[in-house]
Amino acid sequence: MELSIRNVRKEFDRFPALEDVSLDIRSGELIALLGPSGSGKTTLLRLIAGLDFPTSGAILFGDEDASRKSVQERNVGFVFQHYALFRNMTVGENIGFGLKVRPAATRPATADIRRRAMELLDLVQLAGLENRYPNQLSGGQRQRVALARALAIEPRVLLLDEPFGALDAQVRRELRRWLREIHDRTGHTTVFVTHDQEEALELADRVVVMSQGRVEQVGSADEVYDRPNSPFVYSFIGESSGLPVRVENGELWLEDRPIGLKAADAPGGRATLHFRPQDVELLDGCGGCIAGTVSSSRRVAGTRRIELEIGPEHHRVEIEVPIDHAAAQKSRVAFRPTRWAVFPASA
């Protein structure tokens, strides 16, 4: 099922939670909505589900406008962060619930509901637990049951709201891989919300980066990581440093010196240079480079991170150097970013 979100705006008590969001999701895609808390990602997910209604704009399921349809009519599978299982029902009853509550005309026979529940339990690797109650299961098991319950109704789209947010790191990684497998096997169009960029980049076909009720960038993991289109995405995804610079005649200037980077397209004036710690080359002499005083140095896994203070304003940036590189012992280091972006300074 293709999903199309057109110019959706949502206000809560006149406070805009989403501003003019448009997004197209292809059939069978696994999409991550990624952003800090308050970015509107959960609101967007709830609008798709029909748990809330947009102030303006439309949500299309295929060619059909679903905006005014009730949540019951939309036939979506929704998985909540805190599982939201029915604690008065067994695991089997939980999974069969969506089929059991259908009107008599479309309700499968009791035996068929049971069989379907067993199949799904197999799929989520919990065979044999159908008679347990939710409070007899671990967090990871509960979330699997919640997913099986959502899949039982053959949803047109599968929506997951921070599905692994309440689980510990190890279970999280395991379930992440497993969700990808389930998605590949069942082929549901899936949208999940997360604030964990590692989760989003690893799991999703495309990542939707959101901030303050807007979509900042939509793209594959490579695109949003390697070619961020805004200062927000640059700093939110992966690690990066920002350094205030000046653009003059297509060249970047730091204080009174050019730093050897050409930005032909950038408009003149004040701007911010963004680069990632690993995308730098160390230089010996400084004929067009960035130089700074080492303020601290720490070991990070297979490399060493050096924090530099640059210029009279002591702007801090971080660069990565090989473990045994001499630069770590020096008090002054010169470098030049190899991959970078420059964005005009706002205001």
């Binding site: 929704f78 939201a84 299982l85 619930f97 509550v101």
Partner: protein, 279 residues
């Protein structure tokens, strides 16, 4: 071999002192008076005990007391749960005021409540007047007694259901909705079952209070022998006649019947708590 121990090991000190005080206090306030009740009852020989507890006046009062209390508690369960729902789920003007009104039956001296209800429901009263043309009298009938018992029992149900409903996770309802369940199904199969233990507790409290109620009932009951006499009133009569053993016998029977009913409710509750998890 596991040895059955009186006390589970605990690092919390002071068990001896606090447990001792608990037993001492319960004995002083609850156990010894009740024991006295039984002792007093045994002053009667079997024949006179039998005469008292099988007399038609006693049996009529027994039926009325427990019947009206059960009906009042059942009614309060329905209305009390509804009121708790309204107070928890909706935000409206003067919600806190309404919330405070619920406790009035707790605070009002019961005699005052009884007189107020009586003056409303006598055939000339504001409410009685509406029913009088149809030949329905409320005051001085079992219906009047039931109304008084509904009045005093209401806060128990509201106050036990309200906090449980407040803790109820909204996502669970939303989950039911995304699975296609109509609202009515969600309420019946998803919301009510976990509320059941709290509702039963409210029922027990409301019922126990109604059985023992005296002040508000005697005014509206009219106290017609074999028709609108409640058991506590019979006890008062016996006391006025200085027949203390007979009063104790009536009280003992009341106590036993109440105990059996509350035991039954508790068993249902244990079953539902085990089934639906702790609330």
């Amino acid at each position: 071999m596991a040895r059955i121990r009186f006390r589970q090991p605990s690092i919390l000190p002071g068990f001896g002192l606090t447990f001792g005080f608990t037993i001492f206090y319960l004995s002083l306030i609850v156990l010894i008076p009740i024991l006295g009740l039984f002792v007093k009852t045994f002053e009667l020989d079997w024949a006179s005990f039998e005469r008292i507890v099988t007399g038609p006046r006693f049996l009529a009062a027994l039926r009325l007391s427990f019947g009206a209390s059960l009906l009042a508690a059942l009614f309060n369960v329905v209305i009390g749960t509804l009121i708790a729902w309204v107070l928890v789920r909706y935000r409206f003007f003067a919600r806190r005021f309404v919330d405070a009104i619920i406790d009035l039956p707790f605070a009002l001296p019961t005699a005052v409540a009884g007189i107020a209800l009586t003056s409303l429901y006598v055939p000339q009263g504001w409410f009685g007047r509406l029913f009088a043309p149809y030949g329905i009298t409320i005051a001085y009938t079992p219906v009047g007694i039931w109304i008084a018992l509904v009045f005093i029992g209401l806060p128990f149900v509201v106050r036990t259901v309200q906090p449980v409903l407040e803790d109820f996770n909204r996502e669970v309802e939303e989950a039911a909705a995304t699975l296609g369940a109509p609202r009515r199904t969600t309420i019946a199969r998803v919301i009510l079952p976990p509320l059941l233990p709290a509702i039963l507790t409210g029922f027990s409290l409301s019922f126990a209070r109604a059985v023992g109620e005296y002040g508000s009932v005697i005014f509206i009951a009219g106290n017609i022998p074999r028709q609108t006499e409640i058991l506590p009133l019979l006890i008062v009569f016996r006391l006025e006649e200085r027949e203390y053993a007979a009063a104790a016998a009536i009280a003992t029977v009341m106590l036993l019947v109440s105990f059996l009913i509350l035991l039954a409710v508790n068993l249902i509750q244990t079953w539902s708590t085990r089934r639906f998890g702790h609330v």
